[in-house]
């Protein structure tokens, strides 16, 4: 069975140092064609991207490419609860202002180790980290889905 083959293969070659390698060297995460929005993107346009492309979050990026915030699928829940149809034409950043306990966008560098990224995702209890450079410019995304696929060797 192909699954079993992959699994055994992966097990045999998994170096104990795997957690010490960088995202970059493991080619972990998505680096191209990142779906992103701007601070003034209308909420309705963001929601349509979710439905069309089945990603779970969109980084909000300013005109210099710097990641300023993130809009996740879960953020639409409050809209539904408040029957916030009127808000759909608002800029996405404005729709996020009431968000509670928000600790800022969780990011990492492509030079971070796989182990550090795992700890950060678990510690922050998030589904993904945004990969940024030293100037906080968007470089990519690493999500649970990527880690899972990597883990089973796909």
């Amino acid at each position: 069975r192909i699954l079993l083959f992959l699994h055994q293969n992966f097990t045999r070659h998994a170096p104990p140092q795997l957690l010490k390698r960088t995202l970059d060297s493991l080619k972990l995460g998505t680096k191209r064609n990142i779906l992103q929005i701007q601070p003034d993107t209308k909420l309705i346009d963001a929601l349509n991207i979710f439905v069309e492309f089945r990603v779970s979050a969109l980084p909000i990026v300013d005109s210099n490419g710097v990641v300023v915030d993130i809009y996740a699928k879960a953020d639409c829940l409050s809209l539904a609860r408040e029957r916030g149809y009127a808000k759909l034409e608002l800029p996405v950043l404005q729709a996020l202002t009431h968000r509670m306990n928000f600790e800022g966008v969780q990011t990492c560098s492509q030079h971070d180790t796989f182990g550090d990224v795992l700890e950060k995702i678990i510690g922050a209890n998030v589904h993904r980290l945004i990969i940024v450079d030293q100037q906080k410019r968007l470089q990519g995304i690493i999500s649970l889905s990527d880690i899972l696929a990597f883990f089973i060797g796909k």
Copy 2:
């Protein structure tokens, strides 16, 4: 623009009682072809379903169709952290025993109101509820993705 049309259309027809209507009457959630696993399904087989079908969780169902637990994509994180390759051949239920602060599977009924479902999802901080009947047998799934698509009228 079609988005604008949909949005305006939806706004006009959205009854204020929307939150009081049942999932059933709104046809909200997925009721057919629910991807599910058994307590003795091997972890590796569960992970492969995630990668192949891009759903975010699998209800664990016993031989009577009763929902006994749930395996979510996020549950694989601990595996990756512990380099748990050896665990991939374990039954999924066994791999879940160390899970902390787990309050049981969050479920709802197809006769629950949309408002109640929203409150439960927000309160339990989960991505989806499993829809069950009075005997806790699997009926379907309602996830953030469904609510989002419904909200923008798609």
